[in-house]
Symmetry: C3
Subunit: 356 residues, 3 copies
Amino acid sequence: MGTRLGDLVDSLGGELIGDPELDITGIAPLDAAGPSHITFLSNTKLRAQAAQTRAAALILSHQEHSQLTGYAGTRVLTDNPYAYFARVAQRFAAQTAVAPAIGIHPQAWVDPGANVAASASIGPGATVEAGAQIGEHCVIGAGCHIGRNAVIGAHTLLHPRVSFLAGCQIGERGIIQSGAVIGGDGFGFANEAGHWVKIPQMGAVRIGNDVEIGANTTIDRGALDDTVIEDGVKLDNQIQIAHNCVIGAHTAMAGCVGVAGSAKIGRHCTFGGAAMVLGHLTIADHVHVSSGSLVSRSILEPGQYTGFYPLAKNADWEKTAAVVRQLGSLRERVRMLEKLLKQHHAEPPGQNKIGE
Amino acid sequence: MGTRLGDLVDSLGGELIGDPELDITGIAPLDAAGPSHITFLSNTKLRAQAAQTRAAALILSHQEHSQLTGYAGTRVLTDNPYAYFARVAQRFAAQTAVAPAIGIHPQAWVDPGANVAASASIGPGATVEAGAQIGEHCVIGAGCHIGRNAVIGAHTLLHPRVSFLAGCQIGERGIIQSGAVIGGDGFGFANEAGHWVKIPQMGAVRIGNDVEIGANTTIDRGALDDTVIEDGVKLDNQIQIAHNCVIGAHTAMAGCVGVAGSAKIGRHCTFGGAAMVLGHLTIADHVHVSSGSLVSRSILEPGQYTGFYPLAKNADWEKTAAVVRQLGSLRERVRMLEKLLKQHHAEPPGQNKIGE
Amino acid sequence: MGTRLGDLVDSLGGELIGDPELDITGIAPLDAAGPSHITFLSNTKLRAQAAQTRAAALILSHQEHSQLTGYAGTRVLTDNPYAYFARVAQRFAAQTAVAPAIGIHPQAWVDPGANVAASASIGPGATVEAGAQIGEHCVIGAGCHIGRNAVIGAHTLLHPRVSFLAGCQIGERGIIQSGAVIGGDGFGFANEAGHWVKIPQMGAVRIGNDVEIGANTTIDRGALDDTVIEDGVKLDNQIQIAHNCVIGAHTAMAGCVGVAGSAKIGRHCTFGGAAMVLGHLTIADHVHVSSGSLVSRSILEPGQYTGFYPLAKNADWEKTAAVVRQLGSLRERVRMLEKLLKQHHAEPPGQNKIGE
C-alpha cells in the first residue's frame, strides 16, 4: 500500500544506509512521524529531535549523518535534504491526487473560436473566449475566465476562479492559485486640470515556464509594452505586480508584496512578506529584501536589505517615536555640544577626536 | 410596522426607563436618529450629542444614565451599550433580510457525490465537488466553489464568489465574504541550485464555529499539518494567513494584515490594519498589535505593541530619515562627548552621572 | 489603415507643425517608436531621447518645442503632452477593441426581476439578482455577480468576476477590474465578555461617475450610513476601503493602500502604494501621502506627507534599529551632557546656546 524505500531512493537518488525493503506510507515532520513514515532533518537545530524520531527512515545530509547519534533507523543521505523531502512529498501527493476530468465540463462555456487541447480539463462554470489556446494536459478550474487570445502552456494548472485576461500568456507547468487576476489594466492616468484621463493599457502579461502565482495575487498588463514574469518565479498570495514590471527568473516573493510600475527586478531575488518596491527602480540579481521593508531607491549590489521600524511595547514606542520626530534637532544639539566642548578645550586630551 | 420597545427589551434584556409602548422603526446614530428611532451612547465623548438626540429611545450604561441630563426620552440601561446596539441592529436587519431560495439553483452545478442538506441554498453559478458536505441552512452564494470533500457547517453563509477548496472545513454560523480563498496552496519551496522545488501542500484549513472571514482574504492550507482558525475569530478583508498558522479563539484582525507561515497566535488578540507577523513566531493571548506594525519576534506577554515610523511633512521626514541612517554614528558621538567630558572633569559636579 | 495625423489633431486639438497627411498607425515610447508612430515628450529628462526618436510625429509642450533641436519630424504642440498622449492612445485602443456581444449570454443568469438595458452586455456565467438595474451600454463581464437592487450606471464596464453586491450603486462610465468586491460587510463587532457580536452592516456603497476600481480591490458597505466614493476617484489594485469612508472626488490611490473605517478623505489627494490611513481621520483636499506611510492623525493642511523607515543594508539596519530602540535614553544622555556642560561653564563662550 505504501512505497518500497529502495524504489524511492532508486528514483530520487541519494545513498541508502539501512533497509531498502521498508514500506513507507507517508512523510511527516520529525516529531509527528510514526514507524511507517519517512522524515527529514534540514535544520541543525532539530538534531536532538531527529535523535528521538520514531520514523522508519530519515533523510539527512552527509554532514548531519556523521554528527547524529541516537537514531537507529534507516538513513537516506543527500546533499540537500529539504529538496529531497520536497520530491518525496511530491511522490506521496501524486498518489492521492484525484485526476481532473479530461474534456470540457457541460457547464463550462468555451467559445467556438477557442483552441482547447484534447487532454485539457475545463471545469464547470469556466469561460474561455475566442482565440484562447489551452495547451495539452492543462487544468482550468471551476469558474475560471480565460480571455480572448490568451495562451495557457501545457501542463499548466489554474485553480478555481482565476481571471486570466485577454492576450496574456503563461508557459508550461505553471500553477495559478484561486482568485488571482492576470492582466487587469495597469494604473495609468494623466492629470488634466485636476481630472484623470485614462491611459489605455495596450500591453499584456507574459509569464514564463514553471511559474507559480498565489491566491488573489494581481499582475497588471503593460501600458505599451508587456509586464514580464520570467521562468521559475514564485509569487505568494495577495501580491501586486504593477504594469511594465519585469520580475527576473527564479525570484520568489512572500505574501502581500507590492511592486510599483516599471520596476525591473533581478533574478534569484527574494522578498519577505509585505515588502514594497517603488516604481521605475532597478533591483540587481541576488538581492534579498526583508519583510515589511520599502525599497525607495534602486539596489545595484546583491545582499540583504532591511527597513522596518522595530516593534516595542506601545509606551516605549511612543517615547522613541517622539524622539524620531525631533532627530534633526537632536543631531543639532550634539553638534552644538561638540562645538562648545571644542571651544572650551581647544586640545582634547588623548587621541579622542570629535567627528562630524 | 416597527417593533414595540417593551418587546425589544423583554427579549434582549436591560432596564427600561420610560414608555414601553413606543413603536421603534429602526436604529440610527445619535445625530441622525429621528423620533421613531432607537439610538445608543457607548462613547463618553458623545454625551453632549446624546443630550440633543431626537431619538425616541436611548441605550446607555448605568453610569452614563446618572450623568446624562437634557435628554427627555425613554432610556434603556445595560452594562454594554455597544453590544446591545449590535443586537438591536441584528433584529432590524433580520426584518428586512431577503431569505435565500432554498435548494440548488438550476444554474448551479453540484456533483452527485456531494451531500447538500435539504435546507441549504446553492446559488446560480456555484459549483460543489464530490464528497463535499453542505450543512443545514447553509447559504452558498452565486459563483462560489466548494472543493472535493470540503465541509461547511450548519447555518454558515458564503457570500458570492468564495473559493472554499478541497478538504477544508468550517464550523457552524460562519460567514465568508466575497472573493475569499480558503485552502490555496501554502507557499513552500525548497531551493535546489537556484531553482525552487515545490513542496506539495497536503494539509487543509480547519475553521471553528462563529468565524467571519473578510472579502478577498486568503487562508492557505498547511504543508503537512492543517492551518487552524479557532472559534470566534474575526478576519477583515485582504488578510493573508499563511500555511500552518494557528489563530487563537476570538482573535480579531483588521484589513490587510499578513501572518507568515507557522505563526501561532494566541486568543483574544487584536491586530490593527496592515500589521504583519513573521513566520514561526509565537504570540501570547491578549496581545494587541497596532496598525502598520511588523512583529519580528515572538511576543510572550500581553499588552499593546507598536512599531511604525511616525508620519511627517515630507521635508521633515527627509531630515529625520537622514539622521536615522546615521544613528549608529550619532550614538558614537554622544559616547565620545561623554568620555571627553569625563576626562576633562573627572568629578562631575552635583549628583549627575553620565550613563552608558 | 492608420489615422491621418491632421484628422487626429483636428479632433484632439493642439498645434500641428509639419505634415498633416502622415499616416499614423500607433503610439509608442520615444525609444521604441518607428516611422509610422506618434510619440510624446512629457518629461524634460528625456529630451535627448526625443532628439533621436525615429517617430513620424512628436507630441510636446510649447516650452519643449522651443528647446528641442535635432528632431526633424512633425510636431504636435499642446499644453499637456501626457494627457494628449492618453487621448491619442485611447483612439488607437478603440480601433482594436473588440465590441462585446450585446444582450444576455445564454449561460448568464438574470433574475426576471432585474432590469437590464437593451444595449447592455451580460457575459457567460454572470449572475444578476432581482431588482438590479444595468444601464445602457454597460458591460458585465463573465462570472460577475450583481446583487439585489444594485445599480450600474450607463457605459460602466465590469471586467470578469467582479462582485457588486446588494444595494450598491455606481454611476456612469465607471470601470471595475476583475476580482473587485464592492459591498462586502464592513468589519463591525461589539466585544461582549471576550466574544465578538456582529453589528449588521445595513448601509451600502455609493460610487460616483468616472470612477475606476482596481483588480481585487475591496470596498465595504457602511454600517448605518453608506460608504461613498465620489466622482473621478481612481483606485488601483488590492486596495481596502473600510465601511463609512468617504473618498473625495478625483483622489487617486496606488496599489495596496488601506483606509480604515469612517475616514474622510479629501478631493484631489494622492496616496502612494501601501499607504495606510487609520480610522475616523480627516484628510484635507490636496494631501499627498508617500508610499508605505501610515497616517495616524488627521491631516488638515495640503502638502506631501511621508513616514517610512529608510532601507539599508541589513547589517546597517541592525545597528540603527538598535539605537532607535534606545532613542529615549540617547536623548536623556544628550540632555545630561548639556546640563553638565552648562554647570561646568556657566557662561558658554561666543553666541552659542544649548537649546532644549
